[in-house]
């Protein structure tokens, strides 16, 4: 009997609310503050959100970050440039090759050797970065779809990502923390059979890719969860420093690969997909189209992959090859000096930007002329993208939409906290 009374009271309240939908301020007692995370599977890492709700509606959403702070910027101050390279793999752990690329570009500009990088290394870098972008987008797609209830996409995504990781393992010996792109070129020559493996993958993936689209792009259920949710206007996107697919889904054409081409991106024929609504669905669509463009770039890179050297010949920067060390005294000295001291760029500063899978990844490096960076700052795209997320939610979204929004900005907490 008592239960019934309570239920009636609750129904009365509900009716009151429905009678007056446009009320300005909700009384304090009806608000509920709940804690989402840090250990929550759909926050993609250890992200904590403090969400204030009025019923199902999100009134306030405050992200609390720092649970994965590992002091990578501080650690880099105590390491030589070659050692600091291995730290960059661990910031955005779905994107290690592109992180390497950004760091290496900064160091190469400090050393003034950007022009000397052999053509084989440049093309290999582009090829590997684009494969990395595809693999990162596959994880994003799988987890994003799984958050919204499409479980099987995750399995397909992981299955195909595994094939890309096999290619990375072939080159560098490891699947994720590759450190394969290094100042002066790439760490080792591309192995025999590499070209065949990539060609096989492209052919296989071209057949598989439409299946992903067929599962989601035109699905009524997917529309319902993503259309018109967490809209980011172009003005807000710029004001909050959002970059990458998030910015391009709002209609602003900024892709580092096009605007500030690096590693020969200006010689590839590809398009930058744009959308205009800036909601979860558009961000989804932009990434889906990006994968196709990345596949095109991989194919072009494969076709023009030249032979020849894969590292510069300057032995003050690049370690000599093993047979040289074994036969030549000077090479042995170079080897010893490089692995005990490392190289010393002239004093100076540089900000190098690359397009990571999540947006503009920037490395701001300052050298004081010693063998260790005085400062290495990582401009992490996820950091800015996450900051803009609450603005798209507060007062406009339901609680379940938070999960859609987190998935659509594709954050990696390792990169947010560094």
């Amino acid at each position: 009997m008592e239960d019934l009374q309570i239920r009636d009271a609750w129904l009365d309240d509900a009716e009151d609310e429905s009678n007056d939908p446009g009320e300005e301020s909700v009384p304090e007692k009806e608000l509920m503050t709940i804690n989402m995370g840090p250990q929550h599977p759909s926050t993609h890492g250890v992200l904590r959100l403090i969400v204030t709700l009025s019923g199902e509606e999100v009134i306030k959403c405050i992200p609390d970050i720092g649970y994965l702070h590992t002091g990578i910027e501080k650690q880099a101050e105590g390491k030589t440039y070659m050692q600091a390279l291995t730290l960059t793999d661990r910031t955005d752990y779905l994107n290690p090759l592109i992180n390497n690329m950004g760091f290496v570009m900064a160091v190469e500009q400090l050393l003034g050797i950007t022009e000397q990088i052999p053509a084989r290394a440049q093309v290999a870098r582009v090829l590997l970065c684009e494969l990395q972008r595809i693999s990162s987008h596959l994880v994003w797609l799988g987890t994003h779809a799984m958050d919204l209830g499409a479980q099987s996409t995750f399995l397909y995504g992981m299955r195909d990502r595994e094939k890309i990781l096999d290619i990375f393992e072939m080159c560098s010996g490891v699947r994720m923390m590759t450190s394969y792109i290094m100042p002066g070129g790439i760490y080792a020559d591309l192995p025999p059979g590499f070209e065949q493996a990539v060609a096989d993958f492209v052919q296989y993936f071209r057949g598989r890719w439409p299946e992903y689209g067929a599962m989601l792009t035109t699905s009524e259920l997917w529309y319902g969860r993503t259309k018109g949710i967490a809209v980011l206007t172009p003005e807000m996107a710029l004001a909050y420093g959002v970059t990458g697919p998030g910015l391009r889904a709002s209609g602003i054409n900024y892709d580092v690969r096009k605007m500030f081409p690096y590693s020969g991106y200006e010689t590839y024929d590809f398009e930058v997909p744009l959308a205009k609504n800036g909601d979860v669905y558009d961000r989804f669509l932009v990434r889906m189209l990006e994968v196709e463009q990345s596949l095109n770039i991989v194919e072009q890179a494969l076709n023009k992959l030249p032979g020849g050297e894969w590292q510069i010949a300057d032995r003050k920067i690049v370690p000599p090859k093993k047979w040289e060390v074994a036969t030549n005294m000077e090479s042995l000295i170079h080897h010893f000096k490089l692995f005990t001291e490392g190289f010393k760029p002239l004093p100076g500063e540089v900000y190098a930007r690359v397009e990571s899978a999540r947006g503009e990844l920037g490395y701001f490096m300052v050298s004081d002329g010693s063998n260790k960076p005085l400062r290495m700052h990582i401009r992490a795209p996820s950091f800015a993208n996450l900051q803009a997320m609450p603005v798209t939610l507060e007062g406009k979204a339901m609680f379940a939409d938070i999960v859609a929004a987190i998935g659509s900005i594709d954050i990696i907490l390792g990169e947010v906290d560094r």
Binding site: G66, Y240, G241, T243, G348, Y351, R379
Partner: protein
């Protein structure tokens, strides 16, 4: 009216020196080597907001890419706060620096111009201990709230604060 602002914007591209000469006599070019050919200007803290508003509105540097700091200890002025900006329509980049003393470093916040500067400034406050005047919510962001010290300062040990530095001869070679 639009035409005029366009012209002044174009002037800024062709002649970056306009920024320090005509309008802001106190702004000077940095003489530190920039390996990426970005024009770098050093702005006094008192002028920062005026210069940044000018750059955003007239120069169309709409995207504040990055905001960070450098600790130059033992040099004085010790800190430099660095702003990297980009003008998307004109594909131009610029870097602004503010020099701050080691004692109570403080400068105005640019959150009024770019709301996205909020977290970046919190990060610099957290890791360098630099104060941003007028910031709406200046709290630690990466470190725990009760943390002592500012980890990215040069005098903060890399090994962390709880472990005292070991003396150089800490390994005792017994029996020798």
């Amino acid at each position: 009216m639009t035409q005029t602002s366009d012209e002044s914007a174009n002037n800024l591209v062709e002649e970056p020196s306009l920024l320090d000469l005509a309008r802001f006599p106190d702004v000077r070019k940095s003489d530190f080597r920039t390996a990426d050919n970005t024009p770098v200007f050093i702005v006094p803290a008192a002028l920062l907001l005026e210069v940044m508003r000018y750059l955003r509105d007239e120069g169309r540097f709409t995207l504040l890419e990055d905001l960070t700091a450098i600790d130059w200890q033992p040099r004085e002025p010790r800190f430099q706060v660095v702003y990297n900006m980009i003008a998307l329509e004109r594909q131009k980049v610029i870097r602004i620096k503010v020099e701050l003393p080691g004692q109570e470093p403080s400068l105005p916040s640019v959150t009024g111009l770019w709301p996205g500067a909020n977290w970046y400034e919190r990060e610099v406050f957290d890791l360098f201990g630099i104060n941003f005047e007028g910031h709406p919510d200046l709290r630690r962001i990466e470190m725990p709230e009760d943390w002592d010290g500012h980890p990215l300062r040069r005098d903060y040990p890399i090994t962390g604060p709880r472990r005292a530095a070991l003396p150089a001869n800490w390994i005792k070679l017994e029996g020798r």
